[in-house]
Symmetry: C2
Subunit: 561 residues, 2 copies
């Protein structure tokens, strides 16, 4: 049988992706700069986004009884930069309607080969990639990310994570061969010979519960891991960030239909205000897999209540930085200033608690006292963010009122003495946008309790007795609060040995001595795992075998040869 054209088209990139998983060197088929998409790509994306406004998406979905949006009172989105999006999405008459459509659609998708499903998934990602500047607008105006970040993190980097999941899924499904012959010697008698077939079978409906801040980057791993293993995927977007996943669903449905499958293998389930749809869907018996990114409270609720499903959660944590010593003081300050400022600290990977020995830090510029380090870090942030236009391009906008409330309380000194007060930034082109530079609060571990998660542009410079105490605090924070990242600066082999050991034991990945163009907030698909699944912040990682291998099961058919 000749291969489907999609297999011919994408086999090479799939094989390359599988190879990248094993080498873990840098690799991506998706360029991360807009200009690679053509001279007019940015303008084209903006125009495409404008054309979406006031329109309606996914009008072909089954079981619809009305619309979500376009107005905010009907669940329509309002950009953190000000404008209403005014886009309407289909509202399902009931979960039954959606789930019945998916169950009707799933058989053919389940029966397709892992290779064909992978090729369909790659095609979906390639079409999304071609529209990266449009997705950038959609991500920007739902998350508040600045355009540059919305493009990279919401576009090619999210596509990388999706492709990574497809590659892991393909590798896992083909680890056991589709056919095998089994010949068992029987001494002088004829051997026993059996022919065996191994058939993968998906679990059932997979539910993606999207998040507000990274709808595509955090959504694509679960979506594509489930889809590539044959499960239909119901996408329940965050009410403030529907558009990026609605566009994703639309592309997926288009490609599925073209490849001969029912488009209802992928459906969107947006909700009206107050509907609480995620809770309803999560405990439906048809739902066998759930991927979730968001608050610890709802993640814990899912783990406790969605007993019929495999539940993969990324919740909240407190990320620590140990500043023990450095041979590149300026590089450290610049790197930290950038990490604290990027997207106003509204990343699950943003550093929060900076642990600095009270007696000071040995640097290439001599020993710097605790106060000097704090002051110099304040200086680095101010230098980075002094110009509003440049600041806005890094900070973006505050994603929701909860974050704004926290930064305002920090600004009033409610979290402790301020080394750096947050400042309102005017965003060019978007006078209504709410943007803030980060607050830096000074605490002393001898006196103050270490803060829990404070999502947004609030960081804490915490005086500690020694590097040793800093490591202990970091380890305890990871164990008790969870963490998505950890960062340490040290030139001392013993301190490095201790902090590595503490992080491995506590279950968090560690970045050491970042002073250049790699930031603790960022992980690269095909190389860095995102999360560890070994501390309370997340029970899984993007994307290892454990994230994918249980999304399908293997049935065997054997017969005498």
């Amino acid at each position: 049988m000749a291969h489907h054209p999609l297999i011919e088209r994408h086999q090479a990139v799939l094989d390359r992706a599988v190879a990248a998983l094993a080498s873990r060197d840098y690799w991506s088929p998706f360029p991360e700069f807009p200009k690679a998409y053509g001279e007019t790509a940015v303008a084209d994306g903006a125009a495409a986004f404008e054309a979406l406004k006031g329109g309606e998406l996914l009008t072909d979905q089954p079981g619809t009884d009305g619309r979500v949006g376009p107005g905010p009172e009907q669940g329509g989105e309002v950009s953190p930069y000000g404008p209403e999006l005014g886009i309407a999405y289909p509202h399902a008459s009931s979960p039954d309607a959606l789930l019945a459509a998916m169950e009707a659609a799933q058989a053919d998708w389940a029966k397709a080969t892992p290779l064909f499903r992978a090729a369909v998934c790659v095609e979906i990602l390639m079409r999304i990639n071609a529209r990266s500047t449009e997705f950038a607008q959609a991500v920007m105006h739902t998350t508040g990310q600045a355009f540059g970040m919305a493009f990279q993190a919401g576009g090619p980097h999210a596509q990388d994570r999706g492709l990574e999941a497809v590659a892991v899924a393909y590798a896992e499904q083909t680890r056991i061969p589709a056919r095998a012959e089994w010949t068992k010697p029987q001494g002088k008698r004829e051997p026993l010979v059996m022919e065996k077939e191994f058939v993968t079978r998906p679990r059932g409906v997979s539910l993606l519960i999207g998040c507000n801040t990274f709808p595509t980057w955090n959504g694509f791993p679960g979506l594509f891991a489930s889809l590539a293993t044959g499960n239909p995927v119901l996408v329940k977007p965050h009410p403030r960030a529907v558009l990026p996943l609605a566009l994703t669903v639309a592309v997926a449905r288009e490609v599925l239909a073209e490849a001969g499958f029912s488009p209802d293998v992928v459906l969107l389930a947006p909700e009206l205000p107050g509907e609480g749809l995620a809770k309803t869907l999560a405990v439906r018996p048809e739902v066998r897999i759930i991927d979730y990114t968001g608050s610890t409270a709802f993640g814990d609720w899912l783990e406790e209540n969605a007993r019929q499903a495999l539940v993969y959660t990324e919740k909240a944590g407190v990320n620590s930085v140990l500043i023990a010593s450095t041979d590149n003081y300026q590089g450290m300050l610049s790197n930290l200033a950038f990490s604290l400022s990027l997207y106003s600290g509204q990343m699950c990977t943003s550093p929060q608690n900076l642990l600095i020995p009270r007696e000071g830090v040995a640097t290439d510029q001599g020993v710097k006292s605790f106060t000097e380090v704090v002051d110099d870090l304040v200086g680095a942030v101010n230098s980075l963010l002094g110009d509003d236009s440049r600041a806005a391009a890094l900070l973006g906008a505050i994603v929701n009122p909860g974050v704004l409330d926290r930064v305002e309380r920090a600004g009033k000194g409610e979290y402790g003495e301020l080394a750096l007060a947050p400042r309102a930034v005017t965003v060019p082109e978007f006078p209504e946008a709410v943007s803030r530079t980060p607050a830096l609060v000074v605490l002393d571990a001898a006196r103050d309790e270490l803060p829990g998660e404070c999502f947004g542009p609030v960081a804490f410079a915490v005086a500690v007795e020694s590097a040793h105490e800093g490591i202990e605090l970091m380890e305890r924070t990871v164990r008790e609060r969870g963490a998505m990242t950890a960062l340490a600066y040290t030139t001392d082999a013993d301190t490095e040995w201790r902090v590595v050991g503490a992080c491995v034991d506590a279950g968090v990945s560690l970045s050491l001595n970042l002073t250049g163009g790699v930031y603790v907030n960022q992980t690269a698909a095909f190389s860095d795992l995102h999360g560890t699944g070994a501390n309370p912040a997340a029970n899984a990682a993007y994307a290892d075998s454990a994230f994918v291998a249980n999304r399908f099961r293997v049935m065997e058919v054997r017969r005498p040869a």
Copy 2:
């Protein structure tokens, strides 16, 4: 650094095992006939077993406050063949004592490389293998298996399943390399270069809850999967089948200590009558992984209550056989008679419901009516089991009073009209042994409800309207009751296509047209998966990636090169 001698010794067999996983052809390093272990091996094993009687095992375990056994009133075992074993095991003063010892022991084991841990596990299996005839006695006198089966299933075949788990664990832990370099081009600027280390970390204490009938075969996969991934393993044996796992734990502790680890990485937790220790241990926060084989009720309880742990269960099911048509009637009858008789049907894989079209079965000897098929199967069973000595070597002894009660009720006609009444068999050398030939009950699907699980030597010949109805009943039984196996006889391509589809959809593996020396009850490590994890009988399979990949997590340490 030079490799540890255990690595030198076992690297080749480990590599061969990993290769076997991918090819799924027959392979085993463990000979399955006693004579391969030396002329005197059987006698030596019997003598070693006799020497254990009246003695005490694992006297070096920590936290002990007394003994379990030797008498039955203290939890000592009584052989299904009659004799008391009279062996004493250590009783822990409390779960705290055991768990504290394991937590103290676990750090060094967690820090060993996956390769070293795999080599230690292979050494444990090799030493167990060398004592296979002694393990055969231990399995025989705790499960009631006949010696030949106790040797094979309790010895080399169990060791195969253990080695398979070690191989999957080694492969999974080395899928992400221990070190990688990541070089990201930056256009005209210097590339970003990072050095990355990936460190596997175990989850924590792993609890093995052993079963009565196959303590080693069903115990080794979870035990070795957890041990090879760095988790300490607490072995809670079934109260009637302590010895085989006590010997296993003793060998593991010996090898661990010789390799420089604390022996407390593996501990045995036998219990006094009525102690209910499994429930207590299963919900301890230190316990992060549970492997269980046994009743559906307790398996469901574990899944519901042991929320802090990954829970892998193999529970109960109803295995069906469709008899639609055959081109080898005598071979089919002989094969089925053997499968029904082997270990008195006391296998989770034994066939139970034989679905036979009411209008008869096309065979190479003409069309056989329902009644003829039933009569001929009765004849085949009687021919196989006519001689008590030969029968006992196949049937073994009834494992416990619950099974005996069921077969006696069947014999009284309580389950339906009897085509074959069970017969008491006298076991040579063991006049006290309770042994029974299987009962065959005749039902009609048009009139009778299909029976649920009836573990033991009771099978049902069920008249069905057609092969098509038989397939529907088989599929519904798998979905509603669960199944570990399915078997179908058909010479018709359409029927085969339907039954394959039904089994894949319902989530059970299927054997077709077994008429020779391969039986539906048996699965071969490195080739056949045991269970599918896709129907209510089990939530996992021996041993795919999903069974192993989540028993450890991966931490990353990255730094600029």
